[in-house]
Amino acid sequence: MTNDSSLSRRRLLQAAAAASAGLAGCGPDPHAVPAEDIEATAFGPLPPQEPPLCRLYAFFTQEEAETVDAIAARLVPGTPDDPGAREACAVTFIDTKLAQFTDYDQPTYDHAPFPVEVDDEPGEQPGATKEIRVNKDVLPRHGFQSSLDPQAAYRNGLPKLDEYCTRRFGGRFTALTERRQDTVLEALERGDAGFDDPAPDDFFEMLRDDVLAGVFADPTYGGNRDLIGWRLIDYPGPQRAYTPRELRRGTAKRPQTLRDLHPTHPGHPNPDALHVMSGTRQERR
């Protein structure tokens, strides 16, 4: 008994019979794959069809967005002549990501027990359900171990950042001079900002990773407007191919985005499915 997701000769023959009936009539070509289905089987949602509008937020409040935008402008500064993360609309990339995914944008195992760092060297702790103690020098070797998803990290972290700024310099992040903003970010990077959940250095790394993605990811995801990021590093975007000569000498190809990259052989029938779907063994040339 085969289920829908099985490949087998019998099921594909049945599909072929249905498909041929379609071909014989005036139904759609069963071998042509609509563009929106091309990546439908890969893990996770498809990229948006149109890049989201810059500065129209689905997740952030206006205030949150302004803070993230100001952070982005310090991480990758810019001017109109030499654009950076603000001009690239990195904040829209981040906002889109946080809105589009329920929590993480990558495969994440987020079950308890979560680690608690301690000074001593605890043992295995079998039966731990909520928390598990780990030596503080070993814990960084385990990588990401937070119980805070990105949405919660931003929601919690941004007000705590503003509280820190107010304590230290008398105003929220967006109210500070650029120099003081940099000082605050350096403190965050060192883990030295007097708050937790998220830890300031974890929060900094997340901000940095997200801002960089907002500058350098394909524009279809909301950032990298006008290919600001790729022009900065002279990167031509996703090309189909390079010749050996280009590999050796460089390319004159102009930058392009994913939307400019046409699929190879659109509508090309799957030769393996087609082979089996024929119902008889095809002659091999």
Binding site: T41, D105, V134, D272
Partner: protein
């Protein structure tokens, strides 16, 4: 209530590379084979047709196992608490039809004789005291000579690309002169290299070393395979590792064994089917496998023969989870050996820097365009006056550099990772920034092993596999020596600025990618008392269960496993096809 299927000759746990290879051999001989794959189906057309989406595939791991459902835990040493790898780090196993060989880097090697007879070779050359304390080094029960014909058949089937360095005993410059003799030249010429590789090759040649191009499972030119399938040559597009190849230039089950198996009409792959355990009868023989479909319904697939063809770590886990009265600690574990001899690989970039004004075109290409030297691999150099054993391949900067995967690692001369100086510097240097890398071996130790985690479970309520692994002194000494050799090469290559030099091996951590080459855990051997399987992967205590893949490796050389996994699988498939079915109660010899 479980759904019971009609009994088949063979069921495989996993629908990846070795499943497709086994199916190709066995279905053509008339056997019915069912593969149970936890992921979804995917083909060159349409799934890989437009997939140069760096964010989706490289940063969001669209082809990888869904860690939300199951992952692996790790701790450095026994007795320490273990934590799950919550997001992708050290290794990236895939899911879906074709498994990890869809998104692999296609780096294709044959292991050396001294990799196979590691223990006896080193004892003979240096004495038993040279081997590190606490080791579990073993000879493989098979050697290069026995595997050579199978390596060659794999090369012919996929059209591997390279230049022979040792053709039937004749050494050829420009190939890997340290390799064992091959009976045939590669079917296709070596791939191109980028300017960094060319610089590496010139420099190392001048230094008296023997550079060669990475041998590859990627076609260097259009080629028709032995069954008449036309495949394109590599487009050097720069979206290779972690992506499916949209033109079939990169060999995968989809390009080769899957069509052959499906053509017979006797192969079925069931998607979204998660195997929970192998079932055994009162006589200790396997009776089939229990699995769960996407809706959570339990199924039982009875079979004569059960093949564990999933990723290394999952094969070991399946053995441990397949408990019964006959096998209270799991199949193959009657002597407590499942999980032992877990090893990994030393993948590091000890030194990197800037060649100002030189563009290396690093965003083009693939991960098989590097130039390598094997002068410091394995026992290719005399260790008599050194305080360690083993070695590593040394190589140039790979291609396929994506902005998303690289800009985050960039820092200025003063170590700044953001800001105006950083931006300016990155802009000038992104494509002039490269290094020298090593790919080194990993030895097995008593305190390095796999077992079931006491705390963490998967989405089906079963314990995750726990890795206990850390670097040992031999690794540190090996790395220290190789890092100096890399620095010498790097300086001779004329970099104007060093951005990174790491002279000492960092502590093992699980969050930075190294390689998807965890190996061991169900090792092959010639002695039942010292291994889990024979050389065919046949489990000693359960003759109708075979393991495929790198779980069989007693220790891991400093080279990618897939070539050897394929050769061993071919050897095993042939033995099963020609001999096992005639005497299914017996162990193959």
């Amino acid at each position: 209530m479980a759904v019971t299927h009609k009994k088949v000759d063979v069921v495989t746990v996993g629908g990846g590379a070795t499943a497709a290879m086994m199916a190709a051999f066995l279905c053509e001989a008339g056997h019915e084979v069912v593969s149970l794959e936890q992921g979804d189906k995917r083909w060159t057309y349409p799934e890989f047709a437009h997939n140069h989406d760096s964010l989706r595939y490289s940063q969001r791991y669209a082809m990888m196992i869904d860690l939300a459902k199951h992952t692996w835990t790790w701790r450095p040493r026994p007795g320490m608490p273990s934590l799950p790898m919550r997001q992708y780090g050290s290794f990236h196993p895939g899911q879906g039809l074709g498994g990890s060989m869809v998104h692999w880097s296609a780096q294709l090697w044959r292991f050396k004789d001294t990799d196979f007879n590691y223990r006896s070779h080193h004892v003979e050359r240096y004495g038993a005291d040279k081997l590190p304390e606490g080791h579990r080094i073993r000879d493989w029960p098979v050697g290069y000579g026995e595997l050579e014909p199978y390596y060659t058949r794999v090369d012919r089937d996929i059209g591997s690309s390279g230049r022979a360095g040792n053709l039937r005993g004749r050494l050829i410059e420009g190939g890997n002169v340290f390799e064992e003799p091959r009976s045939e030249e590669y079917p296709n010429p070596e791939l191109e290299t980028n300017p960094h590789g060319a610089l590496f090759a010139r420099t190392t040649r001048d230094m008296g070393y023997h550079p060669f191009t990475q041998p590859s499972g990627i076609l260097s030119r259009a080629w028709t395979d032995p069954r008449g399938r036309q495949r394109s040559g590599c487009l050097y597009c720069g979206f290779c590792t972690r992506f499916g190849c949209e033109v079939d230039a990169k060999s995968s089950p989809q390009t080769t064994w899957l069509p052959w198996a499906l053509e017979t009409g006797r192969y079925e792959v069931r998607m979204n089917s998660r195997v929970l355990r192998v079932e055994t009868g009162p006589d200790g023989r396997a009776t089939g496998v229990t699995y769960v479909d996407a809706r959570g319904t339990e199924h039982f697939q009875p079979a004569e023969l059960v093949l564990l063809t999933a990723f290394t770590l999952e094969n070991v886990r399946t053995l441990l989870l397949s408990k019964s009265r006959a096998h209270p600690d799991g199949i193959g574990n009657d002597r407590g050996l499942v999980g032992k001899n877990y090893t990994y690989q030393l993948f590091y970039q000890p030194v990197a820097g800037i060649w100002p004004g030189q563009d290396f075109n690093l965003y083009m290409g693939n991960t098989s365009i590097m130039k390598f030297i094997y002068d410091f691999y394995g026992d290719n150099f005399d260790h008599s006056d050194l305080d360690f054993v083993g070695g590593a391949g040394i190589y140039s900067e790979p291609g396929e550099r994506e902005p998303l995967g690289s800009v985050g690692d960039y820092a200025t001369v003063s170590g700044k990772r953001w800001g105006a100086d950083w931006k300016r510097s990155l802009s000038a240097e992104w494509d002039s920034w490269a290094g020298v890398r090593i790919q080194g071996e990993s030895l097995p130790y008593e305190d390095q092993f796999l077992d079931l985690d006491p705390n963490y479970k998967d989405a089906w309520g079963l314990p995750l596999l726990r890795l206990t692994f850390d670097w040992h002194d031999n690794d540190r000494k090996l790395y220290r020596y190789l890092a100096q050799r890399c620095l010498e090469i790097f300086k001779a290559m004329g970099a104007k600025r060093t951005t990174k030099f790491i002279p000492e091996l960092p502590d093992y951590e699980i969050h930075n990618y190294k390689s998807t080459h965890p190996t061991g855990g169900a090792i092959m051997g010639s002695d039942e008392g010292d291994s889990v399987t024979n050389k065919y992967g046949q489990v000693w205590d359960t003759p109708n269960v075979f393991v495929t893949g790198a779980a069989l490796f007693p220790q891991n050389p400093g080279a990618n496993p897939t070539g050897t996994v394929a050769a061993v699988t071919y050897m095993a498939a042939e033995a099963i096809r020609d001999r096992w079915f005639k005497a299914p109660e017996e162990l193959l010899d």
